[in-house]
């Protein structure tokens, strides 16, 4: 199958959507399909062979952050040339309602078009106001995919039109084969946390209190923290005598994230809310870590109701401390949970996610006769 994928954001900057598109494209190529990804990028910048650059991206504030996107007459010309030359069986656009290449591609294309919605957009109400204006664009999209329950809800409520929920994939192999950081996890036990520790909803204070309690009884127990944030702010709340047993990595790259997850005995996700899927849990599962997580709906689902990781009541300090203690003392239970996690994460592995996306492609193709072609602005 010839597949054309459009990325709204530049590959020059890392980001969730970009990673998703690259992993999907690679999984589809591995299955044996022809894939071309159109993305904003400089012509002379380095990128994978399947990426077609559509010109320099300009920073534009969008939906609460700055997105690097391409938009305008030059981009339009490039999009249309790419569509004409590609002869795609299916066109797959991401975030089609951002002012981006994706929007231009939907506008210029006719035929089987699949759209993936990543964010539950905060300005969805403004979007709903534009519904009449967007309707002609909407109806060019044959099938819709939402990466989370929340994104799907926004789709259904504000834009009308259903969407199939297909979660983000995880590159299991990359995580499972990463080498642990030198000297970790060590013999005394290691707890791990990844995320913005200053954000209340990530629940880091729960883990910190639990760690301080446990570290007093267990002389070798260490804590490994990664994520954005200020180093001093992290150490300020930890007793002085424990400072040399807490390691802060700061913001980590994708490969280092995998190594970090391979370096812990128990990965702790004490989030108190706001998680719609729990991507980090699937990554920890792929890395073979034992997981202790709060019993949010999203986490419960990913962890198969608690069989692929231990759950504790959301926000319950005493339960978390007790659970971590039990896990640290019971290597057999840890191994059991981790091996279940390795099985369960198969459902989120890219090859199987890509197969589900291919089913959506097939459905879109059945509902629209013919190939994707450049539409004369009709």
């Amino acid at each position: 199958m010839r597949i054309g994928i459009v990325s709204p954001y530049s590959f020059d900057v890392p980001g969730g959507v970009q990673n998703h598109i690259m992993d999907l494209a690679e999984a589809l190529l591995e299955i044996g399909h022809e894939v071309s990804v159109l993305a904003p990028a400089d012509d002379d910048a380095e990128h994978p062979a399947y990426v077609v650059p559509a010109g320099r991206a300009v920073p534009l504030p969008y939906n609460g952050s700055v997105a690097r996107i391409s938009f305008g007459p030059l981009s339009t010309a490039r999009v249309r040339r790419w569509l004409k030359q590609g002869e795609f069986d299916v066109l797959h656009v991401h975030e089609p309602f951002s002012p981006s290449l994706s929007f231009l591609a939907v506008l210029s294309a006719r035929g089987p078009v699949v759209a993936t919605f990543h964010t539950a957009m905060t300005r969805s109400r403004a979007l709903a106001g534009l519904q009449n204006f967007l309707q002609p664009v909407m109806e060019k999209i044959t099938a819709r995919i939402a990466v989370s329950e929340l994104a799907r809800k926004v789709q259904v409520e504000h834009l009308g039109g259903g969407a199939v929920e297909i979660p983000n994939g995880v590159a299991v192999r990359k995580f499972a084969s990463a080498a642990p950081l030198p000297g970790w996890p060590g013999d005394g036990g290691t707890l791990g946390f990844l995320g913005r520790f200053t954000e209340p909803r990530k629940g880091f204070p729960l883990l910190r209190t639990a760690y301080v309690t446990l570290a007093r009884e267990r002389p070798g127990l260490r804590l490994l923290v990664a994520g954005p944030g200020d180093r001093d702010e992290l150490y300020d709340d930890i007793p002085k005598e424990l400072h040399d047993r807490v390691e802060f990595l700061g913001l980590v790259s994708e490969p280092d994230k995998a190594r970090m997850l391979r370096s812990v005995d128990v990965y702790v996700a004490p989030n108190t809310g706001g998680e719609s899927f729990g991507m980090i849990l699937t990554e920890a599962m792929a890395a073979g870590a034992t997981i202790a997580a709060s019993d949010l709906d999203a986490f419960r689902r990913v962890l198969d109701g608690g069989r692929a990781g231990a759950l504790f009541p959301n926000g319950d300090q005493a339960s978390l401390t007790r659970l971590l203690g039990e896990l640290l003392d019971d290597p057999a239970r840890r191994a059991g949970l981790a091996s279940c996690a390795r099985l369960a994460v198969g459902a989120f592995d890219w090859p199987s996610v890509a197969n589900r996306v291919l089913e959506v492609y097939a459905t879109a193709i059945e509902a629209t006769d013919g190939r994707v072609f450049d539409d004369e602005w009709s």
Partner: protein, 183 residues
């Protein structure tokens, strides 16, 4: 000469308006064609699902499931929806063995039926909303196309087979674990 400008204005407006009408007519045409293709696809996937269900029922010798599958396959257009719903109910009650190829086919065809239904519903809604537009109604632009209809069935969803065996397995090296491949 102000009268001249007036004429030019009217001509330009008329040109824009007729371009809009042409575009709308094309849009109506396209939406109806797509809704029809989606209906054919949904029909085909439901047939495949019923056939797969019949195979599973024959193997397991479950009479009710077999009867429901046959009824769905043979249903007249008016009874189709309730027959499909009966089949969905029957299917959700049986436990499928993921190791059995017939059961795997059934799970896969059900998944495709879910997708086809979703796309069909969306495309019918798009076509109906186009039919409601003022000029489409006034000029009866949709008169050559039969009115697309929703296919009113419950989600033909089939729970996926559990990935993890009930008893925790002993630790295995990661490479032994095959990802659950979708068919």
């Amino acid at each position: 000469m102000p009268g001249m400008w007036w004429v030019v204005g009217v001509v330009v407006l008329a040109a824009i308006f007729s371009a809009y009408l042409g575009w709308t007519a094309q849009r109506v045409e396209r939406l109806h064609t797509r809704a029809q293709s989606a209906e054919r696809a949904l029909d085909a996937h439901l047939m495949r699902r019923a056939a797969a269900a019949a195979v599973v029922a024959e193997q397991a010798e479950t009479v009710e499931l077999y009867a429901a599958a046959r009824l769905a396959l043979d249903a007249e257009p008016g009874e189709r929806e309730s027959a499909e719903n009966d089949l969905t109910r029957q299917l959700q009650a049986v436990t499928l063995d993921p190791a059995d190829p017939a059961a795997r086919t059934l799970i896969a065809t059900s998944r495709r039926a879910v997708l086809a239904r979703q796309v069909h519903t969306d495309l019918v809604r798009d076509a109906l909303s186009a039919r409601r537009r003022l000029f489409v109604r006034l000029l009866r632009l949709a008169r050559h196309h039969p009115r697309p209809e929703y296919f009113d069935i419950v989600e033909p969803f089939l729970p996926e087979a559990p990935l993890i065996p009930a008893v925790p397995v002993p630790a295995a090296p990661a490479e032994d674990v095959l990802p659950a491949q979708a068919v």
